[in-house]
C-alpha cells in the first residue's frame, strides 16, 4: 500500500515543481524568506498553545483548573497556528518538491504531522465529552501529552530536513 502511495506522490511532486507556484517560489528569494517567517510565527503560535496545554495536563500549571476547559479555550488559537503552519509549509514544499520527496526527515515529519493532527482531534473530542460530563478523564491527559510530544517530533524532524 505504501509503495502505491509513494509511486503516486512522485508525479504529484513533479507537477508541483513545474507549476507556476513551484517556479515562482524557486525564483523569488523573498517569497521563500517571507514564507519561512510566517512558518516560524505559526510554529510559535501552535507551540505556545501546545506547551501551555501540556503543562496544564502534567499539573505544572493551573492545577485547580479543569484540563477540558483549558483545551477548549486554547483550541481556536492552536487551530490558527496549525492552519498557518500547513499553508506556509505547503508553499515552502513548492520550493523544491523533488528535493523533499527524496528527504527521509521530510517523510518522518509528514508522518508525525498527520499523527499529531489525529491525536489533537481525538483530544478535542475527549475534551468535549469531559466538558459535557463536567469531569476530566485520564484519557484526555494522555492524549494532550502525546500530542505535545508528537509536535516536538515534528519540529525536530523539520530542522533535520535541512541537515541531511
Amino acid at each position: 500500500m505504501f509503495e502505491r502511495v509513494d509511486a503516486g506522490l512522485l508525479p504529484l511532486c513533479e507537477y508541483v515543481a513545474n507549476s507556476w507556484l513551484g517556479t515562482h517560489m524557486k525564483a523569488s528569494r523573498w517569497a521563500f524568506a517571507i514564507t519561512e517567517m510566517v512558518h516560524l510565527i505559526a510554529l510559535a503560535i501552535l507551540g505556545g498553545g501546545m506547551l501551555t496545554t501540556a503543562l496544564c495536563a502534567s499539573g505544572a500549571i493551573w492545577k485547580g483548573r479543569p484540563l477540558y476547559a483549558v483545551t477548549r479555550d486554547l483550541a481556536p488559537w492552536i487551530a490558527t497556528g496549525l492552519g498557518m503552519l500547513v499553508a506556509s509549509g505547503a508553499l515552502l514544499f513548492a520550493d523544491g518538491p523533488l528535493r523533499y520527496y527524496a528527504n527521509g526527515a521530510f517523510r518522518i515529519k509528514l508522518a508525525l504531522l498527520i499523527a499529531a493532527v489525529l491525536v489533537g482531534l481525538a483530544a478535542m473530542r475527549a475534551a468535549a465529552t469531559a466538558s459535557r460530563a463536567r469531569s476530566n478523564h485520564p484519557i484526555l491527559t494522555v492524549l494532550v501529552l502525546c500530542d505535545a510530544l508528537l509536535w516536538l517530533g515534528v519540529g525536530i524532524a523539520g530542522r533535520v530536513i535541512g541537515i541531511i
Binding site: R29, W30, A33, E36, M37, H39, L40, I41, L43, A44, I45, L46, G47, G48, G49, L51, T52, L55, A60, I61, W62, R65, A69, V70, D73, L74, W77, G89, L92, F93, Y100, F106, K109, L152, G155, I156, G158, R159, V160, I161, G162, I163
Partner: protein, 188 residues
C-alpha cells in the same frame, strides 16, 4: 520545514567600526567580534554541522517557548483568550515558562553568535533583532509596572486597564518582529 541557509558574510571594512575604550586599550566592537569568531569554541561550532544545527534547533525551541507563552499571556490581557480565567492566574505561571524559554534562547544564541560574530557585525537584521529584544524587555518591565496596580484590585479580576492592554499589544508586535528579524539574518 525551515531549511538551513547559513550565510557566512565577508568581514566588514575596519573603517566602519565604532571605537570604544575597553580596559585602557582602544578596541572596536568589530575587533571583539573578530576575536570571538577566532576563538576555539567558535571555530569548533563552525566546523561541526551537527553541533551548530543542534544549537539552532534548541534556539528555535527557546523562541517558540518564550514567544508562544508570552503571546497567550498578551491575548489574555487583551481579553481575546482564556477570558474566564483571572489575569493574574494566567500570567504568573506563564511568566516562569517564558523565562525558561528566554534562558534557552539566550544560552543557545550566545554560542551561535560567537560562531559567526564577525559576519553578524555587518548584518542589519541581527542588530534589529537585538534592539527589538531590548525593546520587548523594556515593554515587559512597563507591563509589570502597570500590572502591579492591577494586582491590587480585588482577587480574581477578569479585566485590566488600558495601559496594560497597550503594553500587551506592543509585546505581541515586538515578538513577531523579533521572529521576522531573526529569520531575516540569513537573507540580508
Amino acid at each position: 520545514m525551515t531549511a538551513v541557509r547559513r550565510t557566512i558574510l565577508p568581514d566588514p571594512p575596519a573603517r566602519r567600526t565604532e571605537q570604544r575604550q575597553v580596559g585602557g586599550a582602544v578596541a572596536s566592537i568589530l575587533d571583539i567580534c573578530r576575536w570571538l569568531a577566532d576563538s576555539g569554541l567558535a571555530t569548533r561550532l563552525r566546523e561541526s554541522d551537527n553541533l551548530f544545527s543542534a544549537l539552532e534547533a534548541a534556539h528555535v525551541i527557546g523562541i517558540v517557548g518564550v514567544a508562544g507563552t508570552i503571546a497567550i499571556a498578551d491575548l489574555r490581557v487583551l481579553g481575546l483568550l482564556l477570558k474566564t480565567v483571572p489575569v493574574a492566574e494566567v500570567l504568573t505561571p506563564l511568566a516562569k515558562v517564558a523565562w525558561g524559554g528566554f534562558a534557552l534562547m539566550a544560552a543557545t544564541g550566545v554560542p551561535l553568535f560567537c560562531a559567526e560574530a564577525a559576519a553578524l557585525y555587518a548584518n542589519g537584521a541581527f542588530w534589529a533583532k537585538l534592539a527589538l529584544i531590548a525593546a520587548a524587555g523594556l515593554n515587559q518591565w512597563l507591563f509589570h509596572h502597570h500590572l502591579a496596580r492591577e494586582m491590587a484590585r480585588p482577587p480574581g479580576s477578569l479585566s485590566v486597564a488600558a495601559p496594560a492592554r497597550w503594553s500587551a499589544a506592543a509585546s505581541l508586535t515586538l515578538w513577531m518582529a523579533i521572529i521576522i528579524s531573526g529569520r531575516a539574518i540569513a537573507y540580508v
